[in-house]
Amino acid sequence: MSHIVELLEKLGSDATLRHGSAEELAQAVAKAQIDAAVGAAIIARSTTTLHTLLRQEPLFHVQMAPLGEESENYDFIPKEGAVPGRELK
């Protein structure tokens, strides 16, 4: 597993690989010591297959509810040194 994540980190952080050609990607995969099926998913750029192989479910990532006039910080505009919440009675 750690080799897979290491490879993905490299693909994300290397200027040649991030937007590289299919061959460059295939070479990077060949160099990494990873399972052939996972390597094939990466070469195919298939997130769905990769998630299945790594047993990753989709994650919830909604981080906000629509805030209305009833919300606690509705009137808060940060001022110098102010802490949100302290402004309100």
Binding site: L54, L59, V62, P66, P84
Partner: protein, 268 residues
Amino acid sequence: MSTPPSTGSLACVGIGITLGSHISPLARSYIEQADVVFAGVADGVVELWLQRMHPDVRSLQPLYAHGKERGQTYREMVDVMLAEVRAGKRVCGVFYGHPGVFAQAPHKAIEQARLEGFPARMEPGISSEDCLYADVGIDPGTRGCQHYEATQFMMYRRNIDPSAWLILWQIGLAGDLTTRRFATGSAYREVLLDVLARDYPLDHEVIVYRAAALPIESPRIERMPLSQLPQADLTMSDTLAIPPARRMEIDQEVRARLAQLDESLPTV
């Protein structure tokens, strides 16, 4: 490198959108120096990546549930992070994108920690907004740019400016007043369409955008007429970008005043 003894502190940092590409050196350092790390990220593989940076990464995922009010989930996120701060730990909350952009828990947790006298800070990350500008080639400065959470945008009458960009976040959940769902459907987007039709022609081209979470992906940049929005396939990761539909209105009066000032001032 040795780190000072903990007395309870909180840092909320952004890990960016794309795995490997966006994390800042400072965010990584906060993660590595923390006693405990909480993870609010958008992809399981990103969570695996984070686990390689710290031995105690606790996912905030179990706090979410279908049918549970999201406000409750966010309060619980604050509670679990604050409990460790109060226990004297150096806590790092890691959130995807920018921790303070369309994200309630990080702001609230920092506020609460400060109220209780603990040092707390937020460090910015690369947001999906930043990726939008780069991938689609938008400069918010050319025509101005308005950002709204899609449901809030529907709940209130806003004075939007159709001569600037309009960006709607959480478009996949547009119209969910229950805050217990993670997707709404075409019927809800029909309502949104009616709201937008007050200011935009139905054939106006809009852009559904999704930045790459993994470095093997390409961004989604799908253009469609506004009228197609209800039928679009949208997820909780998508953002809607609406290009300007009108020319900017010239303010002759202000221009004349400025010109007069220029004339009355000595030339430099």
